[in-house]
Subunit: 415 residues, 2 copies
């Protein structure tokens, strides 16, 4: 990767056309896209993508779980560099989350093919399935199929809201669930994913490209604080065991601890259940969720322990009972250093400003990175809006990101 | 009221029998009493009370809204001293809240009649209807009927959960809603109400009798804090407008302000609604209720203003929008000083320890006191439990309270 690097410019109008057209598939009258995995909208979007891939001269195929690939065959067709992202959306999601990574990969392959001809190694763009838990609690389903991480029992166990198993949904979409191990790939040398930032750091700082250093580690906790229900009028403040008073102080202290740690540590207390929930009854029980994230595993663990210890201390001071339960977690994942360096060189060659940063959200790259060299680049999100119809990235930013991607890929497949 | 005062002892076993028997009417298999106004259980309880009143030699009658009276006629039968409390219960309420005030009045009248013969002025015990909002939002309905405070429009406007109007419910119970002004009384000279404390002050301090100085004033507020929803992973702490962070700090500060004021100020934040309520989304909006009480009107107002100002300051510091709405209020009500002094003398004559205290809960006496000399006495509630099947007052405490009541009444009607 030390040969001279040359900018590979993608075609911005084509990218614009792809983005706008794909957004119409699953678009809802109230605004936002609904394109859950294996749904008619998802199938239609895949069909459209396959058409564009074929028109671009790529070899198009799908695997047993529904990942869709467009392959630019290399002179050596035994090894593959993969780029892409996911096709499914959150409910009423935007035009860019996932989709832009696929479409940027597609225009990148078109540009490379046009300017440099057939590559040395093969190059593929992929539309991965079910990154968002769009229909099943089957996050990174497509990626896990490629890496051989799907367990047979999940085919029946994973159910959507209508209690349809993921196996049934696959069959209904014309895919063979019993072939769930067929997608496993042993030919992949690297994965590069372009994605919108979904935050406002690049936007606020007027930076073109984010080079992801690590995908943040995450811990979800459910905190339960138990006190005693009492009459709101007849119980003096000093005789109360008010679960809400305790929980509110915990919330303030948790926020303070994490703010004190500084960026990129974040914590969110998003779900609250206060019982019995009457205006004139002292709360007996409060449950609240903690979503704690940090890209460094040790720091994440240290913060989690500090938070739980502080909550325990507050509970003891106030004669409240505390329990905490870990309801979800994922370890931080470093991106490949050599691929990060390549993306930085590519950004430089394209005249793009860049910033190394963690990803606060999870991505397919998180799982890919455990098994093959993987890196991600971010493009700005206007005002950081995401997971909504308001999600927006200017064409210039999207095309610049795709150009950096194409430029980096050129170094991997045209040595 | 300066003649020598002599203890009038009530019959404790009779009181015990009344309490236990009345509690069976409306008792639920899961524990607790359901006796909403105008219901079959309420009618049955009233029938039972009427029977006991008649057996005690009282003249029994009801008024148009369903208040039930047992009258011990005086030598002068034109003026009346009234005692009693309410017959309805909260859903799954206890045996003592309301009921004890009626039954203590009944055994007091029995004791007075037995020991002192016919009184100078007439003496009545009343079972008032709908103190608890047991079925309609018609608090102090019976008392308001007696005081002429019912407005005709309320007869159709007040609806229960089945959308039955209070007028229909009255008709179904055999009562004439168009006669709603007939219950107005002009012969009442005083009202004395015995009630359980529903708090734990007397219980904790081992005091026999609470002499109510004032019924607390109350303000209910609904606070709405608006911020901005953001991705829990991708939005740095310092770029958030987290409504929950703001609301939690407000909760801590509200509690601090009221604790600093000291007894008897109390505040309760019982209802919370955090939106959108997802684990991984920064809360955009929080609504919470404030129940603020103080028996002094000026202090109540000062605290309310201070709370709202502090919340506003926190909202401004954090770029959050705040709105507050008063959803309910009632002014503090002083009890009659002469009647308080009489109750204290009666407690002394009975060898009972006593403590002057505010009532943190609302009572019929609150409304009565605006129109005629009124006072209340409390007996202890074990551990302060109330509005539940766990509500309990030892017989010795209940009988002592009824004895103090009888002793005080003797001074009013046997001059």
């Amino acid at each position: 990767m030390t040969n001279p690097i040359k900018k590979i410019q993608v075609d911005a109008p084509t990218l614009q056309h792809y983005i706008d057209h794909l957004a119409t598939i699953g678009w809802q009258p109230e605004g936002g896209i609904v394109r859950p995995v294996y749904s008619p909208a998802w199938l239609k979007a895949r069909q459209q993508l396959a058409e564009w891939m074929r028109a671009a001269g790529l070899h198009v195929y799908e695997d047993a779980v529904g990942n869709l690939f467009g392959r630019l065959r290399g002179l050596d067709d035994t090894r593959t560099i993969l780029t892409g992202s996911h096709l499914d959306t959150v409910k009423l999601g935007g035009k860019f989350d996932g989709a832009l990574g696929i479409l940027a990969g597609l225009v990148a392959l078109q540009a490379l093919h046009k300017h440099l001809g057939p590559p040395q190694r093969s190059l593929e763009v992929v539309a991965l399935c079910e990154e968002e838990n769009s229909r099943f609690h089957a996050r990174y389903w497509g990626t896990r199929a490629i890496l051989g991480l799907i367990e047979e029992s999940q085919l029946e166990a994973l159910r959507d809201e209508q209690n349809i198993s993921i196996a049934s949904a696959m069959r209904a979409a014309g895919l063979p669930p019993d072939q769930y191990r067929a997608p496993i790939r042993t030919d992949l040398d690297a994965f590069l994913e372009l994605h919108i930032e979904q935050g406002r750091i690049l936007f606020d700082e007027h930076i073109d490209i984010g080079i992801v250093q690590a995908i943040t580690g995450l811990q979800h906790l459910l905190i339960t604080v138990k006190g005693r229900a009492d009459h709101a009028g007849t119980t003096p403040m000093d005789l109360r065991r008010d679960a809400l008073q305790g929980a509110a102080l915990m919330a303030v202290e948790i926020t303070r601890l994490v703010q004190q740690e500084g960026r990129p540590a974040v914590v969110t207390l998003g779900q609250w259940d206060v019982r019995p929930g009457a205006v004139n009854v002292v709360p007996a029980e409060v449950r609240f969720s903690i979503d704690l994230r940090h890209p460094d595993a040790e720091t994440l663990q240290r913060l989690s322990v500090a938070i739980q210890a502080r909550c325990q201390a507050i509970a003891q001071e106030r004669d409240l009972q505390l329990s905490s339960e870990i309801t979800g977690q994922s370890a931080p994942q470093q991106m490949d250093p050599a691929l990060q360096a390549l993306l930085i060189r590519a950004a430089g060659a394209c005249g793009a400003t860049w910033k190394a940063m963690p990803s606060g959200a999870g991505h397919d790259s998180q799982t890919m990175a455990r098994h093959l060299p993987t890196a991600m680049l971010f493009v700005p999100s206007i005002e950081g809006r995401s997971h909504s119809a308001a999600e927006e990235t200017p064409l210039a930013d999207a095309a610049r990101g795709a150009t950096v991607l194409a430029t980096a890929l050129s170094q991997l497949v045209y040595p």
